[in-house]
């Protein structure tokens, strides 16, 4: 008997199991990043929104400058500046409700601050007195995440859990262009799409992963083109256009909230400073490029629009600057205080209950500290 003679009907085409569940076309990003500022659409933008975004951008720029200054004074161990990327940072915070969650990377302290976190708490990790410097649950801001892209599955799991519990919560997770190359990026996006979890993934494509330019990171038409491979929409936006970012992220949040599942947003932006204060960007990029991007500055873009619409007078501008200065001087002052540390904290949060071994070790350290204190007394 040949196979042909086997019983059963003949199917010239594969049975439907493999068939697309979704139409790919709407998932693909547009060829050009979405823009509002400098286009006719800007006229329709809510003036209040523009003013709020402007104030936050100005504050964000000042925050970045102050944090960088604090590294020079030895008050921060390290600072990865988001100068030039403020539009993404503040929009990410602006589109979320209080009940929502933000999952920032190490570069996104500004997003946390824009969400309302005390800058001193946001910078604690980078100052070095403890790891996460704020109550992550209370603020609904996950710990600043250093291992790249590992925060993305967390955002998916949290959003999924919230949905299972019937809570109306969206998670917004931030990652860099470099981070998209990690396996965790892939796994997170796939889980999100399969679970239709209410998550928004915001990739800040700032052109570099430390020294590695985008062209060595990916050969894709855009990072937003990765979305279709997971069955979620991919959106490309001008990351320096605060209104456009706000619009695209807002739409993604609404889709997530209404059960429409995750979205991948690629915001095209640029890291104006070096990777961190410890990095030397002149080793791997030309000033020309930086200068070119200076002409596409998020604050400049918004201010030009607002001025031409008569929304930005000198008063508004000045008061934004003054608020920023106030924040900066308060930050400077408080960061100049030495944090009070208790070495015994080393053992406080390893487990809910200390193991015998940790009890012994804590005792050892306490004895050492006491001996050192006594020696100090005697030497006085």
């Amino acid at each position: 008997m040949t196979v042909l003679e086997q019983p059963g009907s003949y199917h010239p085409v594969p049975p439907p199991a493999w068939r697309p569940r979704v139409d790919p076309a709407p998932l693909l990003p547009d060829a050009e990043p979405h823009r509002v500022l400098g286009t006719p659409a800007a006229a329709a933008a809510d003036p209040d929104l523009l003013r709020r975004l402007h104030a936050q951008l100005v504050l964000g720029r000042r925050y970045n400058a102050q944090a960088t200054a604090l590294t020079k004074q030895g008050r921060l161990a390290v600072y990865p500046s988001s100068t030039g990327q403020e539009a993404c940072e503040i929009a990410a915070a602006a589109v979320l409700e209080e009940r929502d969650w933000l999952f920032p990377s190490y570069r996104d302290t500004l997003a946390a601050v824009a969400r309302g976190l005390d800058p001193v708490e946001a910078l604690t990790l980078l100052r070095g007195d403890r790891h996460t410097g704020y109550d992550a649950r209370k603020h609904r801001i996950a710990p600043l995440c250093t291992p790249l892209a590992t925060q993305l599955p967390h955002a998916v799991g949290l959003a999924h859990a919230a949905r299972l519990k019937g809570d109306d919560v969206v998670a917004l997770a931030m990652v860099g262009d470099g981070g998209t190359s990690e396996g965790d990026f892939h796994e997170a996006l796939n889980f999100a799409a399969v679970w239709q979890a209410p998550v928004v993934f915001l990739v800040q494509n700032n052109g570099f992963a430390i020294s590695v330019p985008l062209a060595k990171q990916t050969a894709a038409p855009s990072l937003a083109h990765k979305a279709v491979g997971y069955g979620m929409p991919g959106r490309l936006v001008d990351g320096n256009d605060a209104v456009a970012v706000h619009e695209v992220l807002g739409e993604a949040v609404r889709r997530a909230r209404s059960g429409g599942g995750p979205t991948l947003v690629e915001a095209v932006t640029y890291r104006m400073e070096a990777h961190t204060n410890a990095d030397d960007a002149t080793r791997y990029r030309e000033d020309d490029e930086v200068e070119e991007w200076r002409g596409h500055d998020p604050i400049a873009l918004l201010e030009r629009e607002m001025r031409s619409a008569g929304l930005l007078d000198d008063d508004t501008s000045r008061s934004a600057q003054e608020a920023a200065e106030a924040m900066a001087s308060d930050l400077r002052e408080r960061m100049n205080e030495d944090p009070v540390l208790d070495p015994m904290d080393l053992f406080a949060h390893v487990y809910a209950e200390r193991t015998v071994q940790l009890r012994d070790q804590a005792e050892q350290l306490r004895a050492e500290l006491e001996a050192a204190a006594e020696a100090g007394e005697e030497n006085r």
Binding site: R130, H131, T132, G157, A161, A188, F191, H349, V350, A352
Partner: protein
Amino acid sequence: MTTAAATAEPAAVTRRPATMAQALGRALRDAMAADPDVHVLGEDVGTLGGVFRVTDGLAKEFGDDRCTDTPLAEAGILGAAVGMAMYGLRPVVEMQFDAFAYPAFEQLLSHVAKMRNRTGGAMPMPITIRVPYGGGIGGVEHHSDSSEAYYMATPGLHVVAPATVADAYGLLRASIASDDPVVFLEPKRLYWSKADWSPERPEAVEPIGRAVVRRTGRSATLITYGPSLPVCLEAAEAARAEGWDLEVLDLRGLVPFDEETVFASVRRTGRAVVVHESSGFGGPGGEIAARIGERCFHHLEAPVLRVTGFDIPYPAPMLEQHHLPGVDRILDAVARLQWEADWTPGKAGN
């Protein structure tokens, strides 16, 4: 942390033979019934009930949202579990086999183990990670690793390994109840081991981190856990013929490490052999022997010896019996415990 698993005592309880796999499944079921925040997730845990059938019936009883077949990606599974735990759930993750937990190591080491500490206690990680582990089942490569050394060297994790049917239930319940992450090592080759055990009245759950003396003896202590416990008990029986009365200690895991019970036994017998499947070099036995050496120094009549897997990648099925610590190898080690009063250093140089 002790939880009475069954409070009301039924009139008559019949204890029937149950396998370890069944007891584990029952523990999951009872934990899920008791707490709606307990969620099971992993590859093939839903419809199929897991490749070892431990999660059989859970999806049917509790629905796909409580017992979820995930996409095939271990870092994604554990990473999602971290997020679920952040939101207050108590995820129980199944890694299909020991070696397939490796892709999740970054999530495990950098987040699961550290999250409580990183957040100053604000974000505990009540995650149980079930890992079918160890050899002796004729598995092809990558299916028989003993990976406990990695877990025990990671502060922030608990490491639990049951060796009996009753412990499988009790320790899994306790692990799920723990507010800290537990790597729960299930000895694959004991999945089908049986004991008289009643699902209607499972033993009360002991806190994790308590060793137990499975057999008392005066001559020397065999210290073990998980898949090697039955081997040690068999060796202890066989040792009687040689005149050795061996104590057998079941650690029931590695973290927390119950040094009190270990030290008490060794101080009494004066001799100890640590037995495990995992490679010797850099394996758990080193820590255990070192700790005994440090804290029971003047009680030791002989060096603490180790009987372990060789320092090799896990062998192909047809050779695994030569790798695994067996009764003869344990008895050989016991014989080397310097029983003669006039023992002097020999060619081994010790």
